[in-house]
């Protein structure tokens, strides 16, 4: 089972596996000859697993002492995921019943498919180790790594999502790609790698048109490589003199630098370059040559948050080796060079890189040429832009770069800049901005080849969510077996009255504001997520039950309010190996566990097992019960706690000794209410009071609920009729 939300094991998504280990119940690890050795040969990383002991080596100790195969499987799964590049840590294995051989094992995974595959391979691996059969660990790791690369969030997106996590901002992945919703409901924002929902499509269009970008930038005083299209070699020379030598001559529509000649200063060279460019494009442009290094500056919301510099790559000839050989021995040996996103620098493969071929051709070489001893050969003019220089950027450059993004209209952009020294003003050095890119890659700044990584994910999160905004809307969770749907509907109605756009998922279906969107039983993960994805919803009320928590986990990570009416119903959970109330408690407590520190647990004071959850709550506990003389309520109030109860037919909202009467005018007749039970009113009043609704509004809402409820429903399906099981 993939538990997608907070669950009985942990707050985060896990895969829960039921294992029947059969004969292995009698065969703990130390009884299997050579097993541990084979296992650790294949997976030396297991030595780092802490397990119960709490320090590296803990798990090895357990293997030596003898531990059961389910537990071993758990560690193997986690290790395989780690080897595949997925960061996880949590795993737990519990026997369902002493001596039964049946275990529930849960392990953290960031992707269900990867998790399932890792599990399958872990089983194969463990069995191979048991049976002393060969196992191709390398192939498995490659397979899993490929899956991680294609199925998990890319590095740019994950750095943003991780930063959101650090700010306690929830996220929902909307596709298998990199489209992610941050926050919930009406407070949500979306990102798609380094694009945000504020990234303008028109701005992207502008940035993709280099000439348009250049002309807009230059109109606003941002230095760009000035240039002009020329018709003839003579005109090219004239224009070059106007622009100032040296110049670049290139075809307007060329690619990979074909037909580009740079740093031209003489008439002869310029005329030659014109002819060359003409071969490779329909029109030829002469541009001022900008001396310096290529820089990439990342701008987020009007600030430069990271900057990196490129460096040219050279080899030195020895009179024997070819350029390709020199590249391999002098450049590709660098440990930072490799293939794929994890390496800050690419391996240089001259045959695959037209730009390098052209650079060599300009020097009169190709990859097979053998330069003389001591001769320096330029391989890449601007190699990978990967040397962090964030702290060096001059304020004048920052100002111009930010202006460039504003002119184009992008909130997040990677600005390419050519300048000799980024720590000095741009214009006096003759530097220029050459490109403004939408959806820039963040990896350069996360994994620079030289220098510190920059917290660009955090910068994007602060841009999307100003300080203190966590993108959260109020979430009210309700669980138990007694009138939970009724409570949910009443709270939804009260919140609507207070002006919220309310989403409600309960047994009776899914509701958006007044509208019933689905009549299907909606106590499940998907229904809850559906509400949280809705961009208009400003508050949600989600009913849940033990079964849903066991099967899928909660549909939200944290809640504002958790209401628990009781912990009944163990008898219906036999399929989950649950038979005792204490086990139900362990399931239901998840609700209270996820209450935010500024949230509330609304607990039925009459149920001792529910009362047992009070210490688990990070937020405030509010008790409810008809009688104020209940010992739990008296004690809670003595400690300045909050409680809701009935006195002489009136609902009292109490905080320590302070009391508010909900039905001050006495118009709310509890006992006459045709629909609502007393506990429903108390729980709902407690929840909405906790959320800051004024008592008058709560009272008015309770009074009008019945009428509203009747009108919102098709005839013949009253709450009463539905309530009967």
């Amino acid at each position: 089972m993939h538990l997608r939300g907070p669950n009985i094991w942990t707050y985060r998504p896990v895969i829960e596996v039921w294992l029947d280990i059969g004969r292995f119940e009698q065969l703990p690890s130390h009884t299997l000859p050579g097993f541990t050795q084979r296992l650790t040969d294949w997976l030396p990383g297991l030595a780092q697993h802490r397990c119960g002991v709490g320090e590296p080596g803990g798990f090895l100790l357990r293997l030596d002492e003898g531990t059961w195969i389910g537990h071993i499987l758990e560690h193997v799964v986690l290790e395989l995921q780690t080897l595949a590049g997925m960061r996880t840590g949590f795993g737990k294995t519990r026997q369902v019943k002493e001596g039964s051989g049946i275990y529930k094992m849960a392990f953290r995974t960031r992707n269900e498919a990867v998790g399932r595959m890792a599990l399958e391979e872990a089983r194969n691996l463990v069995l191979a180790a048991v049976n002393d059969q060969p196992y191709d660990i390398a192939a498995t790791v490659i397979k899993l790594t490929d899956m991680v690369d294609s199925l998990c969030l890319g590095p740019s997106t994950s750095c943003i999502v991780d930063a959101a996590g650090e700010q306690r901002i929830p996220f929902i992945r909307l596709t298998e790609g990199n489209l992610v919703q941050l926050g919930h409901g009406s407070r949500q924002r979306r990102i798609w790698t380094a694009e945000t929902d504020r990234t303008s499509a028109i701005a992207e269009y502008i940035s993709s048109d280099k000439d348009l970008t250049k002309s807009l930038l230059s109109s606003c005083g941002v230095p760009v490589p000035a240039g002009r299209i020329v018709e003839s070699a003579d005109e090219a020379w004239e224009e070059a003199q106007d622009l100032g030598l040296p110049v670049v001559i290139k075809p307007v529509d060329g690619n990979h630098g074909r037909g580009v000649s740079i740093e031209l200063s003489t008439k002869a060279h310029i005329e030659e370059a014109f002819e060359l460019a003409l071969i490779h494009g329909s029109e030829v442009i002469v541009e001022r040559f900008i001396r310096g290094n290529e820089h990439r500056l990342l701008v987020v919301g009007g600030k430069v948050v990271a900057a990196a510099r490129g460096e040219s790559a050279w080899v030195i000839g020895d009179g024997l080796a070819s350029i390709q050989e020199l590249v391999d021995s002098q450049l590709n040996t660098d440990s930072r060079r490799g293939h794929g996103e994890d390496f800050p620098l690419n391996r240089i493969d001259i045959d695959q890189d037209v730009a390098i071929q052209l650079e060599l051709a300009r020097q009169g070489f190709d990859s097979h040429s053998v330069p003389e001893h001591g001769m320096e050969v330029l391989i890449q003019r601007n190699g990978n832009v990967a040397i962090d220089c964030t702290d060096e950027v001059h304020s004048d450059i920052e100002e111009l770069v930010v202006l460039a993004t504003q002119v184009v209209g992008l909130d997040i952009a990677g600005v390419d800049l050519v300048v000799e020294d980024v720590s000095k003003p741009l214009i006096e050095q003759g530097g220029a901005i050459v490109e403004v890119n939408a959806g820039p890659g963040l990896l350069t700044h996360l994994k620079p080849a030289v220098g510190y990584p920059r917290p660009v994910g955090g910068a994007i999160i602060s841009h999307l969510f100003p300080k203190g905004d966590r993108g959260r809307i109020p979430i009210v969770g309700i669980t138990g077996t007694s009138h939970t749907t009724e409570i949910a509907r009443l709270i939804a109605w009260l919140l609507r009255l207070s002006g919220e756009k309310v989403g409600l998922a309960c047994q009776e279906g899914l509701f958006l504001d007044r509208r019933q969107v689905s009549t299907r039983h909606s106590v499940n993960f998907d229904a809850g997520q559906r509400l949280l994805m809705n961009r208009t919803v400003s508050a949600v009320v989600i009913e849940t039950d033990a079964k849903a928590i066991l099967k899928e986990g909660l549909s939200y990570d944290r809640s504002t309010v958790a209401i628990v009416t009781d912990t009944q119903g163990a008898e219906s959970l036999n399929e989950f190996f649950i038979s005792e109330d204490q086990q139900v408690f362990d399931v239901m407590r998840t609700m209270v566990d996820v209450v935010l520190p500024d949230g509330f647990a609304i607990l039925n004071a009459a149920e001792p097992s529910v009362m047992g959850m009070a210490p688990l709550c990070d937020g405030t506990v509010i008790l409810y019960h008809a009688s104020e003389s209940l010992a739990a309520i008296i004690e809670h109030r003595t400690n300045h706690g909050r409680a809701v109860f009935v006195r002489e037919g009136q609902v009292i909202l109490a905080r320590g000794n302070e009391e508010l009467t909900l039905n001050a005018r006495g118009s709310l007749k509890l006992n006459d209410s045709g629909v609502l039970t007393e506990n429903t009113i108390l729980a709902a009043a407690a929840a909405t009071w906790a959320m800051g609704l004024p008592p008058e509004l709560i009272r008015a809402g309770i009074e009008t609920f019945e009428a509203e409820h009747a009108s919102a429903h098709p005839p013949g399906s009253s709450v009463k009729a539905k309530k009967k099981k």
């Binding site: 979306r190 807009l216 109109s219 005083g221 899914l510 809705n534």
Partner: protein, 862 residues
Amino acid sequence: MEISKTRALRGPNLWSRHTSLEVIVNCDEAEQDISSIAHFEERIRNRFPQLANLQSRQLPRPVTVAHVLELAMLGLQAQAGCPVTFSRTQVTNEPGTYQVIVEYSEEPVGKMALASAEALIRAALNDTAFNLEDVLSNLRELDEDVRLGPSTGAIVHAAAARGIPFRRLTSGSLVQFGWGSRQRRIQAAEMDCTSAISESIAQDKELTKRLLEAAGVPVPTGRPVRDAEDAWAAALEIGLPVVVKPQDGNQGKGVTVNIDDREPLEIAYSVASEFRDDVMVEKYLAGHDFRLLVVGDKLVAAARREPPMVVGNGKQTIRELVEQVNADPRRGTGHATSLTKIRLDEIATAQLAMQGFTADSVPDKGARVVLRNNANLSTGGTATDVTDDVHPELAARAVDAAHMVGLDVCGVDVICDTVLKPLEAQGGGIVEVNAAPGLRMHLSPSFGKGRDVGAAIIGNLFPEGEDGRIPVVAVTGTNGKTTTVRLIAHLLGASGLRVGMTNTDGVYVNGRQIDSGDCAGPKSARNVLLNPTVDAAVFETARGGILREGLAFDRCQVGVVTNIGSGDHLGLNYISSVEDLAVLKRVVVQNISPDGMAVLNAADPIVVPMAENCPGKVTFFALDRHLPVMAAHRARGKPVVYVEEGAVIAEEGTRKYAIPLKNIPVTREGAIGFQLQNVMAAVAAVWAVNSDWYSISQGLFTFRAEQHNVPGRFNFFDYKGATVIADYGHNPDAMKALVEAVEALPAQRRSVVISGAGDRRDDDIRDQTRILGAAFDHVLLYQDACQRGRVDGEVIALLREGLEGATRTTTIEEIRGEFVAIDMALQGLQAGDLCLILVDQVEEALAHIAQRVKASDSGNTH
């Protein structure tokens, strides 16, 4: 006939507010009276019968070829469908030379019309052929090509109706509305706030469907299925009828629709699985295609769309039926009409084949034969407006859909029987949402009422009452413009605005110089209006730019005319008198917005009458509030600015603000008269934008006309105890002002260094020294670096002539080279002397003086 110059006047100009071509035409003697050219009129009318009547009484006598060119350019554009009406031919002071001004709606079309009109006239003169039909169709084609498409056009039109300025940023449909920091952009029906992510979502049909479903919007739900068994299970979950199709399939291959039983479903599954392994079962939606247009949170238009089709009559072939339909005069070929001709092309043939027809089949009477699978207007479909029929619940779902995807302008495709009922009540659904939807079907539907969707989009970009304009102050006049512009910019900046400024020294945005050189023309001003960081703009508006291109803006909030005096640069570009110059500079005043303000110099009799031409209010300024113009204006409770009791006073009705001159350092406590003029003009201008008097007075206090601030404008130096003043004055009025200012300063001996610019009239050059001769003891004449067309020594001779009979001057020296002259003047100075240096190469000369001052050891500048 010879055309010596063509200019595109891209903004309000000397002749009109219309964008126009101005052509300088030289006619030989015969061409100055067409009646003297045998058969000319007859020949030209034969070639272009629609040419306006040349015998019209509106035309002067004799009618010249220039006039014919004018009428031909206008007539050709009109015949090609361009909405142009303005034209004029102006006789110049050069015999046989005319200025022909003809409006254009698109510059390239105007230029082509000019070339065509010229060809027409030559054809008539030489009695050669002229193919009118070709010419007109070329013009039409070019016009269709370059003008805005119907969607963008409708939005731009709506903006214009609300007084929102616009500017095309590309030859495509990217348009900027408003200016500076208040600007917005659109590209067709896409706004600058339209999110790229939302557009990507809209392009992903499955993702869109999932999101819409989450939002409770009815969509054809479905899921991938494993096998025929699972397909039936899925069909039951979804509810019959269903569609079975290959996932990501295209062009309807392998798709079976409207399946309502198990057996056909199984067949459909096997058909679909032949095309792809992944098969989908989806809810089948029946009904019409509707397109709902959502803008912001409102449904603004809805249309029912039908694919191109013909209805059989049992007699004619499909080909004949299509021809019949295409005979409808409303069906055109481009985007301009509400219907487009149906094409019987490959796609149509394939579509026919799927229905078992060829183009030559004869369908039964009443049979509907669809010729294309989509209902786009551009391929011959039809659209019927149903906006008023849409049920509010249905409209709400369309808005939900747009909102969920995140599109602020969104075309929502709906399939249902009728829009009169909610979708849920009829099993309808939303099948697609489109970013940047076409608007043509709503603007000019084939049937029903057109909807002003452009206005809805503009309303979304600019809330009621906002027009995207930032305050624009245009400053013109003969002298003091640059300082006034700098002062105004400084004062606006002091109130917290980010100011863009253009003047003869460059372009400045928020204090940063982004361009240098003479930037007092419209190009630089347009750049400032484009800059997203500019909250207010101040433009020096020189004559050259107005003549060359017109104004950079359609109207400004404040127009300042510092003075006209006796003018400058007279004799150039057919501006030969002070009156001509006044008419030209008046263009600024004429194009002040109705709620704007003209700031006019009440002491200048040529400036005062411009008040009559101002669509907005007028503030007069003058030192003396008792001038009749000032007194009358003040008596009527209108705003005036003057100087009284050592303070600059701004007064309007009962409101009165005073700023003591001692707190305005640039005037040297009022001693420098022309700076007082500049201060009054600037105060009046800023007052019209923002009457925060605290920031105005603070700004005046912090403004110093030092070298770094206004180079070449009365820059003070202290050289060995003598006062040296450098200035770039170069016309008689400037001389007068300088003399006045210099006389207010105490000094023992006074000397002046001057050269004359060769491009002035002889009289104007003489006048300069005539004025100086009354105020300076010693005059050093030097030869200008650039003689601007004069022979060597000619200018110096004129300057000398001006000094004949000078009342004060006792010594005159002639020197070659500006720096030599400066050095010589400095050498002769003693403590307490005063030397005015009229610099020519401003930057170099100032640097030179500064260096000398520094070397003299007493190097403090004020």
